[in-house]
Subunit: 324 residues, 2 copies
């Protein structure tokens, strides 16, 4: 019986692969690479094949788990599209990989797979029901309910980033005002700080200094660093993100009453003050009888890869049961 | 084998009971009564015993299903409290009923049991996952996920009424601004219409006429009737409710992506224009890839009783399996 699991993570700008033995808790081999300048589905596949064959080193995987950065029909094993890379429309990725590697495969979108990773190997262990949220370029989410990924009727569940928390708030690309992503994602935090620096010339001295007056160089990370050093404009820009996330999480708690909420992604590394506002706002939004257990993700950027490995383990176990 | 199921519905101001045969689709006997003037848990129980013994007419039930109008620990079979009636704190209702009737019993809160009723016998039949919402004195909700009631980690799931959709909106009794209940429940619709009638003496002629100038007599039902006759102030007051519900439902769809949303309660009888705003707002709030299948409840005030009967059938089946 083959015991090697292959985990693949197709990102928008980075790809990663790893191999791990069944039941093991550390990678046997792991590699993460950047995508090429003008990627398409074919170049993504070539990069991933290269990574996989290198890490497998001639061995045959027992199963393959895949995280994909875009909408996926998990039941059919098909990628619906990528928002970042052309050519991914309706690609039967599970079938393609099964033919290439002669092993069963499973795929889901990155937020669901990362949620699965945190549940099986990270901060979600032991939680009966959990919501995983990643806050970086966008705001994504995935549910684990009764020990299973909850995909929803159209495979789209977990879109906390597009819930509305302030209908009079700023306009998002999605066409709505004041959705969580518009308030809390990294690029929008940066944009808010930039706009306020332009409109309020007397404020934001520390932040201005950090980018040497070049407002185009303001990022969420720099904003967070300036806030940590006492820049009040930077903090105000971060506050909006923490508040928006807090209301969105509080609403999700009211609706589903999960036992745990797990937050990952670059924006959540914005310090204790950020977390405090987020937790207090979620607490004030949720009904008092509900637990509000909001913790940091444990697996960082590798959450999708760990989730992919756990997916692979699951189908390897199913195959083993079939042949018993 | 006894084949009679006893269904009980403890409401705040009304109680109902019914008996039905296993596998049957019409009540063998059914009775609904008003509560007494100053009720307590004991008077509620006496009324319910009276109803039950009358309807059972000497027969022994195979199982008992119970809907309770307040927070319940369904796993323990215990009522946590009633917001309307004193003396219900930590009453082990399942145990009490099992001793009284010598039959297995199950209890859950009214929103969950009504959701279960609509799923098993009403507008939710065939839905893989559904959110049931009742909009009347308050706004309550219950989830059916993968064919089971979803209670949540603290038994509190489904509280769409206390999700925030307008943080700058009016203050609710719960301490938050612009939660769905504050915008959409019957008493708050009436209050909004009253306040606008006071502040805008030139508007609301039809509505004023209907209550003969007595603003205290304005209810949500009268507001709805006035709106149907073309009163624009009344319609504006209803519009806020439809809009708030629409955003709340759209947010719930983004989070869980259910296959169906079912709406019951008096406020939802406010006509086609109300439903149109509600559906359009939910559609605009949910991501375009998600289905937005929002339909009217089928069972009316009897939804909790039908759900209680379905609960009873479930435990009767479990008992039968045990003794097989």
């Amino acid at each position: 019986m083959q015991s090697l699991l292959l985990a693949l993570d197709f990102g928008g700008t980075k790809h990663a692969a790893a191999v791990i033995g069944r039941g093991e808790r550390t990678w046997r081999a792991y590699k993460r690479v950047s995508s090429i300048a003008h990627p398409n589905a074919e170049s993504d596949m070539q990069i991933m094949y290269g990574l996989a064959y290198e890490l497998l080193a001639g061995e045959q995987p027992a199963a393959i788990g895949v995280s994909f950065g875009g909408p996926v029909d998990a039941a059919a094993g098909t990628v619906i599209l990528s928002h970042h890379v052309t050519g991914w429309e309706n690609i039967p990725l599970v079938q393609v990989l099964e033919q290439e590697f002669h092993a069963p495969a499973a795929v889901d979108n990155d937020a669901n797979v990362a949620a699965w990773g945190e549940y099986r190997s990270g901060a979600g262990q032991g939680a009966d029901s959990m919501l995983y949220i990643t806050v970086s370029t966008g705001v994504g989410g995935g549910w684990i309910l009764k020990g299973k990924i909850w995909q929803g009727a159209d495979g789209m569940a977990g879109e906390i980033g597009h819930t509305v928390v302030d209908p009079n708030g700023p306009l998002c690309l999605c066409g709505k005002r004041g959705c969580v992503e518009r308030l809390a994602s990294g690029p929008y935090i940066a944009r808010r700080a930039q706009e306020w620096l332009e409109a309020q010339p007397e404020r934001g001295k520390i932040l201005r200094g950090m980018v040497q007056g070049n407002l185009d160089a303001v990022t969420a990370q720099v904003t967070s660093a300036a806030a940590a050093q006492g820049d009040e404009l930077a903090w105000d820009a971060l506050y909006v993100a923490a508040w928006g996330l807090g209301v969105g999480i509080g609403n999700a708690i009211n609706l589903i009453n999960p036992s745990r909420v797990i937050l990952g992604g670059g924006v959540t590394k914005s310090g204790e003050r950020f977390w405090q506002v987020l937790r207090e706002t979620a607490r004030a939004t949720a009904l008092p009888q509900m637990r509000v257990d909001i913790v940091a993700a444990a697996l960082g950027d590798d959450a999708p890869l760990w989730g992919a490995a756990a997916l692979a383990e699951q189908i390897a176990d199913l195959e083993a049961d079939k042949h018993r």
